[in-house]
């Protein structure tokens, strides 16, 4: 329950704190700050849970039920798939609560209509799925809880803030613009904005394609890593 509300709390903080200092001239004309912010929060919301997924996998690998599964005739693909599905399902619930709260409490207007909003949610879920698999891959190779936690913290903040999530990229100093443009999250956010806000959707397809590419890579590495014996 608390988990479900967490993104809403962030929406409240970010919309009030950054909204207070956001220069409306930097935003695309006619876009309220909450409209700019919320589609990006769909993407930032999925990052933390994805890192937790990797940590959880390592925890399970070094003690719990997973050690048993390794001695059973069960294909590891299914174990990883089940884990990613259940972890992503939880995130989906968070995303839905976030959107509803955004519309009802914060005056978020998804100008792209219900279909656009759904498409934006679908992109966010794809991003969640992809990040989850990437962290599952890291976990199944590194097999170290503390290292996974550090990687989570170290990667989430730059991915979240060195992006177009809170401020349009062209407002950044030059070097940060380069970083933010290279950040795949910026592209995912661009896609969710295009879909949710009814902008022209030129960036959506490349972003989705990139995501699928990362997803395939993550899945491949995760299964390979997970199949390795406990040691050596």
């Amino acid at each position: 329950m608390l988990n479900l509300c967490q993104p809403v709390v962030l929406l409240l903080l970010f919309s009030q704190v950054f909204g207070a200092i956001a220069n409306p001239e930097l935003l695309p004309p006619g876009t309220a700050y909450v409209d700019y912010l919320l589609p990006a929060l769909l993407v930032t919301t999925v990052m933390g849970p994805a890192t937790n997924s990797g940590v959880g996998l390592v925890r399970d690998m070094t003690g719990g039920f997973l050690t048993r599964l390794r001695s059973m005739p069960v294909d590891p693909c299914w174990i990883l798939l089940a884990r990613s599905v259940s972890d992503v399902a939880r995130v989906v619930a968070q995303l839905i609560v976030l959107v509803i709260a955004g519309v009802v409490l914060f005056g978020f207007v998804p100008a792209g209509g219900p279909l656009g909003m759904l498409a934006a949610l679908a992109v966010a879920v794809l991003v969640a799925w992809t990040l989850t698999w990437i962290f599952l891959a890291l976990g199944s190779w590194l097999r170290d809880v503390e290292m996974m936690q550090s990687i989570g913290v170290i990667s989430v903040f730059p991915l979240m803030f060195a992006s177009s999530a809170f401020v349009p990229v062209h407002a950044f100093p030059g070097w940060l613009q380069v970083v933010a443009m290279a950040n795949p999250m910026s592209h995912a956010m661009r896609a969710t904005r295009e879909l949710a806000l009814g902008w022209s959707t030129g960036h959506t397809l490349p972003a989705v394609a990139t995501c699928v590419g990362f997803l395939a890579l993550g899945m491949f590495c995760a299964v390979r890593g997970f199949r390795r014996p406990i040691v050596g």
């Binding site: 003690g63 719990g64 039920f65 048993r68 001695s71 059973m72 005739p73 069960v74 040691v231 050596g232």
Partner: protein, 312 residues
Amino acid sequence: MTELMIEADRLTRVFGDVTALDTVTLTAPRGAVLGLLGHNGAGKTTLVNVLTTQVPPSSGTARVAGLDVRQGDQIRALIGLAGQFAAVDGQLSGLDNLITVARLLGAGRRAAYARAAELLDLFGLAGAARRPARTYSGGMRRRLDLAMSLVGHPEVIFLDEPTAGLDPESRLVLWRIVGRLARDGITVLLTTQYIEEADRLADAIVVLSGGRVVASGTPAELKAQVGTSSVRVTPVWPHGPARVLDCLSEAGFRAFAGPGARSVSTPVAEPGLVASVVRALDAAGIGVSELNVTEPTLNDVYLNLIKPEPVR
């Protein structure tokens, strides 16, 4: 010839510069209980991990139910493993843990429930079936873990120190279960640090030390290696086991003290030699507070083979 369910041939596993298993050769026929005895770090868990396809051998071969351990999935369908640390999901109830395993093995909903209920009964866990496993005591977790490894009707089962940390009563329960498995024709490989346990349960015993097999045979054979009887001497305070050890060694006996023990044991080749032991102690001026002559125990075998440093 009986069918061999476990075979290891010059099996070696190296971790960095540690040789955890060093040319281990052993076999177990169908329905046998093979006891693997060894102190901490002897290589017991490593051997179990290799035989359960979780760690590949560095060299040598190992077969389980006639299949090479490199054929992972086929073997995993035939074995059950209760590892050194219970692999149960603490969030799930005992019942759900068992059902999950059964479902993963391909059983239908109803069959899975039936099998789970049967095992809960067998292991005396029916009363706690619906409680989360994290609320179980250590002994209950162990029993649940063992039950989970039996869900798929394995032909070979591996138990890594199944009674470590259990009270004598739970230990008896587990011993009875292992006995029943063997009667049902299931081959059991059981590691333990308890000599008594190996003696009670095993048809054959392999003693590992530093990754090598230092002795193997039936419990009776191992005892026979040591001598006909064993003399245990407890000196009068302030003499410690060290004094007794020195004295007996000088007199030509192989003597050893268990870790932390006040007494010293020495196996003798014939009963007449008991008197020589007493004479040697007397000559050295060591008072004896207690002296037992027993059949050699596996403890004697074990201590004789492994020769731990006596605690002084």
